[in-house]
C-alpha cells in the first residue's frame, strides 16, 4: 500500500487555529467599535478631567480640577437631585408589580389590557415629556382634576417652582418606567409554577402568605433586574424628559448629573469639567453595573 503524505505535512493553519482565527476575526469589528467609541473615550475623559479644555485646546492643570469641581455647588445640587429622585424607584417598581399581579389574574380582556399598559414603552421620552408638561401645566390636566374634586381655589404649577419641579419629574419618570417593569414582572409571573400556588392554597395559605412566601421569592431575580435597570435609567435616561420639560430648571432644581454634564459642556463650553462630571456619573453607574454583572454572572 502506498501512502500519500500530502495530508501529513502540517499546513499553515490547523483546524483549531482556523477556528480561533475565525473567532478573533468575527469578534474584531465589535471589539473595534467598542474600543474606539466607548473605551478610548473613557481614557480620554480621565485625561481631560485634569485639564482646562474647551474642545479644541487643552491645558494640563492637574488634580486641582477635581478639588475645584467638588467645590462647585452645582455638582452637589445635581447629586442631591439624583439622590432625591431615587425616592421614585420604589414606586417605579411597586406600581408595576401591582399591575403585573392584576394582569396575572387573567380577567376578561387581559391581553388587550397588557398591550395598552405596555404601549407607552414604545413612545419617546421626548414625547412623554411633552405630554407630562401638558399634564402639569397651569391649564393642564392636573389642575382640572384638582378642580373636579372641588378644590377650585388650588392652582398648581409644579414645573414652575423649584420646590415641586423635581417631584413632577419623578412622577413622570415613574410613569415612563411602568411599561417596561410591568413587562418584566409579568414575564416573571408567567414562569411561576402554578402548582406551587395551588399546593400552598391546599395547605391553607392565604393570599398574602402566598404572595409573600411563594410569588415574591420567585420574582426576586426579576425584581433585582428591574431595580438595576430602573436605577440606571434614572441616572442616564432622564435627559429627554428634562430637556423638554424643564431644561434643568427652575434654577438648578431639576438638573441631574447627566444634564449637568450636558450643560457644563455645551452651554458653558467647559469641556474639561464636563468630562470630569462624566467620570463621576460613570463611577455611579459602574457601582450599579457591578450588581447587574453579578446578576448575569450568577446565571452562568
Amino acid at each position: 500500500m502506498t501512502v500519500s503524505t500530502v495530508g501529513a505535512r502540517a499546513p499553515r493553519l490547523t483546524l483549531r487555529r482556523r477556528r480561533q482565527l475565525a473567532g478573533a476575526l468575527f469578534a474584531l469589528p465589535a471589539v473595534a467599535l467598542v474600543i474606539g467609541l466607548i473605551a478610548v473615550p473613557i481614557g480620554q475623559a480621565i485625561y481631560y478631567s485634569f485639564t482646562q479644555w474647551n474642545g479644541l485646546t487643552s491645558t494640563w492643570i492637574g488634580p486641582s480640577t477635581w478639588t475645584q469641581a467638588f467645590h462647585n455647588p452645582n455638582l452637589w445640587t445635581a447629586l442631591e437631585n439624583n439622590a432625591w429622585l431615587l425616592l421614585a424607584v420604589p414606586f417605579a417598581l411597586g406600581l408595576p408589580l401591582l399591575i403585573a399581579m392584576l394582569l396575572h389574574q387573567r380577567v376578561i380582556g387581559w391581553k388587550i389590557f397588557r398591550s395598552i399598559y405596555f404601549l407607552p414603552t414604545a413612545i419617546s421620552w421626548v414625547v412623554l415629556g411633552l405630554v407630562a408638561e401638558r399634564f402639569f401645566a397651569f391649564q393642564g390636566t392636573l389642575n382640572s382634576l384638582i378642580h373636579f374634586f372641588g378644590l377650585s381655589h388650588v392652582n398648581t404649577n409644579m414645573l414652575g417652582y423649584e420646590s415641586t419641579a423635581l417631584s413632577a419629574l419623578g412622577i413622570t419618570f415613574v410613569f415612563t418606567m411602568i411599561g417596561t417593569n410591568t413587562m418584566l414582572f409579568l414575564t416573571g409571573l408567567a414562569t411561576l409554577d402554578t402548582s406551587l400556588e395551588e399546593a400552598a392554597r391546599i395547605d391553607g395559605a392565604g393570599r398574602w402568605r402566598i404572595f409573600r412566601h411563594i410569588t415574591l421569592p420567585h420574582l426576586s431575580r426579576f425584581i433585582q433586574l428591574a431595580f438595576v435597570m430602573t436605577v440606571i435609567a434614572l441616572f442616564s435616561a432622564l435627559f429627554s424628559l428634562i430637556f423638554v420639560m424643564t431644561g434643568g430648571g427652575p434654577g438648578y432644581a431639576t438638573t441631574t448629573m447627566e444634564f449637568l454634564i450636558y450643560q457644563t459642556g455645551f452651554a458653558q463650553g467647559d469641556f474639561g469639567t464636563a468630562a470630569l462630571y462624566g467620570l463621576i456619573l460613570f463611577v455611579l453607574t459602574a457601582i450599579v453595573g457591578i450588581v447587574q454583572l453579578r446578576l448575569i454572572g450568577s446565571d452562568e
Binding site: 500500500m1 502506498t2 501512502v3 500519500s4 503524505t5 500530502v6 495530508g7 501529513a8 505535512r9 502540517a10 499546513p11 490547523t14 483546524l15 483549531r16 482556523r18
Partner: protein
C-alpha cells in the same frame, strides 16, 4: 470508498487529559466497524478525529491511503451522522440532504437526482419538502442518514445515531442502517455505548475503555473469547459472571477453590490457558449466565452449591441471582470501578421459564465446562493462549 487506518493515534486534551491513547485500528473498505465502550472511553473523540473536528496529538490517521492528519474536514470526503442529527432547521429535507453537494458546486439537476435516489433508499420521498420540525424522530434520523448517503463519501461516521430514538424505533433503525450500509458498501465507523447495537450491527467491534483499545474482533469472537475482564463484562447482558478463585491442583484436573467450595474443571484448560500452577494463586473465573445449569445431587463437572436470592422473570427466560455458599467475597465487575468491592459472590444464571426455582432454594449448579473463561486476577487479561 476506502479503508481507514489509525496508527498510534493519540489525543491529549488541554489539562493533560488523554482521551485516546495510542489507537491502532484498521477498518477495511466496506467494513462496518463499531466502536463501543462506556461514556468517556474515547470512542467519540476517535470518531471526531476521523471527521477532522478534533486535532490529532500524535500518530497518523489515513483514509484511502492518504494521511489526513492535517486535512480539513471538508477535504476528507467523509460524511457524519450526529447523535442529535444536527439537521439544518431552516432547510427542507431535500435541501438538508443536498446541502453538501450544493456547496461542492454540483449542478441543480445532479443534486436533485442524488437526493431523490437517496430518498428512495430511505423511503423519504414524500417528505422532501418538509422541514425537520415537521418530522418524527425516526424520520429525522433517516434524513440525517440521507444527508450522509447523497454525498457517496469515502466513509460514513456515525456518532450514536440511534440513542435519541425510542426502544422500538431503535430496533427498526438498527436493521435499516445495517441494510443501507451493506447496500452501499461504504466503510463505516459507528460509535455507540450500546453493546446490543455493537453485537448486531458490526462486522467487527472495537471495544474501548479509558482511551485504550481493548479488543477488536467480530462480535461473536468478542463474546466467546473476550480479551479481558472488561470486554467480558461489557459485552452481553446480563454480563459475564466474574468470580475470584484460587488454584488448587488436583490429579488430572485443574482444581479451583471458590470461597471454600472446590470446583474441578477439565485438564484441557491447563493446556489452552496459561493458568498459574502454584497452590493458592488467584485467578478470575468467568462464566456467562447461559452457561449455568441447575443439576440434581451428584454430578461430575464443575459444580457449586448456591442459594437463590432473587428471581427475575423476563418472559422468554428467567434470570436467577444466586449467592455462592460460603464463598466469601468476589471481585466486582471490573468496568464499574477499578477497585474490587467486597460483596458476597453472586452469580446470575439465565434459565428457561419452566425452571422451578424459588427464592430461598438451595441449588447445586453446574458451569458449562466447555465455556469457562480465566482472567489474570491483577491485570484482568485473559489467560487463554492464542490458538494460532
Amino acid at each position: 470508498m476506502a479503508e481507514i487506518t489509525f496508527s498510534g493515534v493519540t489525543k491529549v486534551f488541554p489539562g493533560d487529559v488523554t482521551a485516546v491513547d495510542n489507537l491502532n485500528l484498521h477498518v477495511a473498505d466496506g467494513e462496518f466497524m463499531v466502536l463501543v465502550g462506556p461514556s468517556g472511553c474515547g470512542k467519540t473523540t476517535a470518531l471526531r478525529m476521523l471527521a477532522g473536528l478534533e486535532e490529532i496529538s500524535s500518530g497518523t490517521l489515513s483514509i484511502g491511503g492518504r494521511v489526513v492528519n492535517h486535512v480539513l474536514p471538508k477535504d476528507r470526503d467523509v460524511a457524519m451522522v450526529f447523535q442529535n442529527y444536527a439537521l439544518y432547521p431552516h432547510m427542507t429535507v431535500a435541501q438538508n440532504m443536498g446541502f453538501a453537494l450544493k456547496i461542492r458546486g454540483e449542478s441543480k439537476a445532479e443534486v436533485d437526482r442524488k437526493v431523490r435516489e437517496a430518498a428512495t433508499i430511505l423511503r423519504l420521498g414524500e417528505y422532501l419538502d418538509r422541514r425537520p420540525r415537521a418530522l418524527s424522530g425516526g424520520q429525522r434520523q433517516r434524513v440525517a442518514m440521507g444527508r450522509a448517503i447523497v454525498r457517496s463519501p469515502q466513509a460514513f461516521l456515525m456518532d450514536e445515531p440511534l440513542s435519541n430514538l425510542d426502544a422500538q424505533l431503535r430496533v427498526e433503525m438498527r436493521v435499516e442502517i445495517a441494510r443501507i450500509q451493506r447496500l452501499l458498501g461504504v466503510a463505516t465507523v459507528y460509535v455507540t455505548h450500546d453493546q446490543i447495537e455493537a453485537m448486531t450491527m458490526g462486522d467487527r467491534v472495537a471495544v474501548m475503555r479509558g482511551g485504550q483499545l481493548q479488543q477488536v474482533a467480530p462480535p461473536q469472537v468478542l463474546y466467546d473469547h473476550p480479551a479481558n475482564e472488561f470486554v467480558a463484562g461489557f459485552m452481553g447482558s446480563p454480563p459475564m459472571n466474574l468470580v475470584r478463585a484460587r488454584i488448587s491442583p488436583s490429579e488430572g484436573r485443574v482444581g479451583l477453590v471458590v470461597g471454600d467450595q472446590r470446583l474441578d474443571v477439565p485438564a484441557a484448560y491447563g493446556a489452552s490457558h496459561d493458568l498459574p500452577r502454584e497452590e493458592g494463586a488467584e485467578v478470575v473465573l468467568g462464566v456467562r449466565p447461559e452457561d449455568i445449569d441447575v443439576v440434581g445431587g451428584d454430578v461430575t463437572g464443575p459444580t457449586l452449591k448456591t442459594r437463590v436470592e432473587r428471581r427475575e422473570a423476563l418472559g422468554a427466560e428467567i434470570l436467577v441471582h444466586l449467592s455462592v455458599a460460603d464463598a466469601g467475597t468476589a471481585r466486582s465487575v471490573a468496568y464499574d470501578e477499578d477497585v474490587a468491592v467486597a460483596r458476597p459472590t453472586m452469580l446470575v444464571a439465565r434459565m428457561a421459564p419452566q425452571a422451578r426455582v424459588e427464592v430461598g432454594d438451595v441449588l447445586t449448579v453446574r458451569l458449562n465446562e466447555e465455556r469457562l473463561h480465566f482472567f489474570d486476577s491483577t491485570r484482568g487479561v485473559t489467560l487463554r493462549r492464542e490458538c494460532a
